[in-house]
């Protein structure tokens, strides 16, 4: 198991090199000069060239990339072109907000969606099942942006229960953004859990367990549910990875100071060091989440665990 984990962690290195190279090249191909954006329309071409030289943008692209990677290996992500602040410190300031929101949203969606999915499967074709699936459809179809605004209008403006924006009000700041994100994700988890459970509860071993006299609930929760969890864990892992990249629209509505907004601002400003810094953190996080998901497979299914050995 440990060898497997080390192998997976080492495999992140080429992934990181590939991602940084790809992003670096895409940003080079994209039109727009960061020096011109910083100096504005009033600067002369000579001044723009001078600033480009100061920023190292006049060097060949591969030289710039190599310099970036060497510095990255030393833990230096460089300085933002636009704000001149250290990328590492800015990403470090934003990442905890994104991570916490992602975890809380995932918890909200898992805690609601998995029971709903199980009950919907057990009560297949009843009014409960149909209601759950309609709600899931609504959750998947509803734009997160609209949902977020509606939540703010009702719970912040009309009822005055929760803050409109920001992350400075403790747990209360997390409620609306995590519901807005969680509701959307909840729909997918509930549907996946239901389908997977429907398949599992019809398996012979569940029937055998029931015929041995154990209760229906024990057969479902003790035998069927763990085996039905693998697709759900996969969906949750993918969703969590997506949330680490920042739920840009939700962050925008709730003025959440997370990575998503930072990336959008940086792309608009062609702030390559900041974009790369964010991408590195997101890639590592995504890889770690995938690793955790793979390890969970092992815990859930002994056959998968035996493959690690």
């Amino acid at each position: 198991m440990i060898r497997y984990m080390i192998k997976r962690l080492l495999a992140m290195i080429p992934v990181l090199i590939g991602i940084t190279f790809l992003v670096f090249m895409i940003m080079q191909l994209a039109p727009g000069d960061p020096a011109r954006l910083i100096l504005g329309e009033n600067a002369s071409p000579e001044e723009v060239k001078e600033l480009r030289e100061q920023m190292g943008l006049e060097d060949p692209v591969l030289v710039q990339y190599f310099r970036y990677m060497v510095n990255l290996c030393k833990g230096d992500m460089g300085k933002s072109y636009i704000t001149n602040r250290l990328v590492a410190s800015e990403v470090a300031a934003r990442f905890p907000y994104t991570l916490k929101l992602a975890l809380v949203s995932a918890a909200v969606s898992i805690l609601i969606a998995i029971p709903l999915g199980i009950i919907a499967a057990v009560k297949q074709n009843t009014i409960f099942d149909n209601t759950c699936m309609v709600l899931s459809l609504v959750g998947i179809s509803m734009p997160a942006f609209w949902m977020a605004l509606m939540l703010v209008l009702v719970f912040s403006l009309r009822l005055g229960w929760l803050p409109v924006q920001g992350a400075n009000m403790g747990w209360r700041s997390y409620v609306l953004p995590s519901i807005a994100i969680g509701f959307m994700n909840m729909a997918a988890i509930a549907r996946t859990t239901r389908s997977s459970m429907l398949e599992t509860i019809r398996q012979d071993y569940v029937r055998t367990a029931k015929s041995k006299g154990i209760s229906n609930a024990s057969a479902i929760l003790g035998h069927a549910f763990p085996n039905a969890l693998i697709p759900t864990v996969t969906v949750v892992g993918v969703q969590l990875g997506g949330l680490i990249g920042g739920a840009v629209l939700t962050e925008t509505v709730f003025a959440w100071p997370g990575l998503g907004r930072l990336i959008v601002q940086s792309v608009n400003a062609r702030d390559v060091p900041m974009i790369l810094g964010c991408m590195v953190v997101m890639s590592v996080s995504f890889s770690v989440i995938n690793l955790v998901v793979d390890l969970l497979y092992g815990l859930l299914d002994p056959r998968v665990k035996s493959m690690y050995a």
Partner: protein
Amino acid sequence: MYKWVRAMCVVLAFVLLVGTLSGCSQGTQGEPQGGEPPAPKDTLRVALTSEPPSLTTCDHDSLISVGLNLLTFNSLYKIDHASLLPVPDLAYEYSVENDTEWTFKLKEGVKFHNGDLFTAHDVVATIEYAKTVPGSTLYTGSIKSVEAIDDYTVKITTHKPYAGLLYDLGYHYNFILPKSLIEKGHDFNMEPIGTGPYKLVSWDYGNSLKYEAFEDYFDADHKAKIKNLEFVIIPEGASRAIALEAGEVDFVWEVSGADVARLNANPNVNVLEVDTVDNVTLFMNNDVKPFDDPNVRRAINYAINRQDIIDGALNGYGRVNYSVISQGFWGSTNKNAPEYNLDKAREYLNAWGGDPSTINLPILCSNETRVAIATIIQSNLAQLGIKVEVVPMDTATYFAKWTAGDYVGVIASWSPSNSLTYVQRFHSNRRNAYPGSLNSPEIDALVLQAEGTIDNDARLALIEEIVSEVNLLSPQISLYQSVWLRAHHKDLAGIVCSATGYTAYNDFYWKK
């Protein structure tokens, strides 16, 4: 299991019912109802649209950053928010010898936030430092030398007679920094130490900036009246408006037109319509045929219905402008400006002599509003048989294209602080820097003459002459002057919003 299901259904139904009823109710939006407790009256909370790229004076061209620079720094002369003319700030008077030597008498007893006393040596150090920063040429390029005559007298010598010096000194690049910190290589972005009415307390990136009043501020009339000032970054327009209604912020720096009706219905909120000198303009590449012909440009100018644009794309929040220069500046004039007239447009097309259906005008647009404007222009010009192509793109690409001259038409805005800066762009030496610029020896001569005319009355006449001549040539087509929307809590008073986009937060106060 059934019990559990029933309980869940009841809870769900209750939540939906409460949400629906409260969402649909038209109850009075009285006192702040948001999650945050009511603002203590020694604090002003302002919602900004985005984070400032920098708090230094010399490495940005951002309206938000300049607004924050004005809190922490002062200049020798500043641009008055009402008249848009230069008025004394850290200097109290000046005299000019030989039209090139400007001697400024400085105020005594002014303190920087770090306790240093402001002297002429700080002025010298600041301007010499600013001249070394890329991007400063427009603001410091006219200055040949600067020297301290004594602690409170400074002499600035310009390369040639230059009437725009006082305006240039009011730009952020020339905001005064303490010499001792410049020499130490101080990071003014992290710690913007100046002489301004507020001091930065903290900057929580992506979230908020907190300031507190500078007790030793030198200008008693404009000393900060509210002790604590906090800026929160709320990018989404609807969220900013809701935050104001919920009492989480007291002042919204940019209100979306779509939210005005709702805010106006709230008795605790006032919405301000600020007439600005921000001139939104259709620039055409005058080097590209047939736009090099003034007859074509004039025909297009006559054919665009500005009121259609204001009503259709701006929810009515704009002011018609036909002149190449914004109205409201000292020296603005509408003389020779073409007003909407389709018959005149056809006359000018006939004078050109070509086939209008061969004219293709792709217009670059950087946001949704500009796309809407270009679409209206498309329908206006279709009446003349001219084809317009609306080309939306992201801001960085748009900016790169038009600064490189890679465009035929582009919608952009420009809001300089004075009319001289405005007319300077019509000189042919700005041809590579600005779209819509001219190549006219007569205009060049007039611009140079205006730049070198220190006497205000004589310069005023020259600027009016330049504007009326350029109006005839129509190198660019003014569409409208922006009306910027601000909103605030009804108990907030002393609100000063300038036509150039700045807000004097130090003059705000709470009524009770």
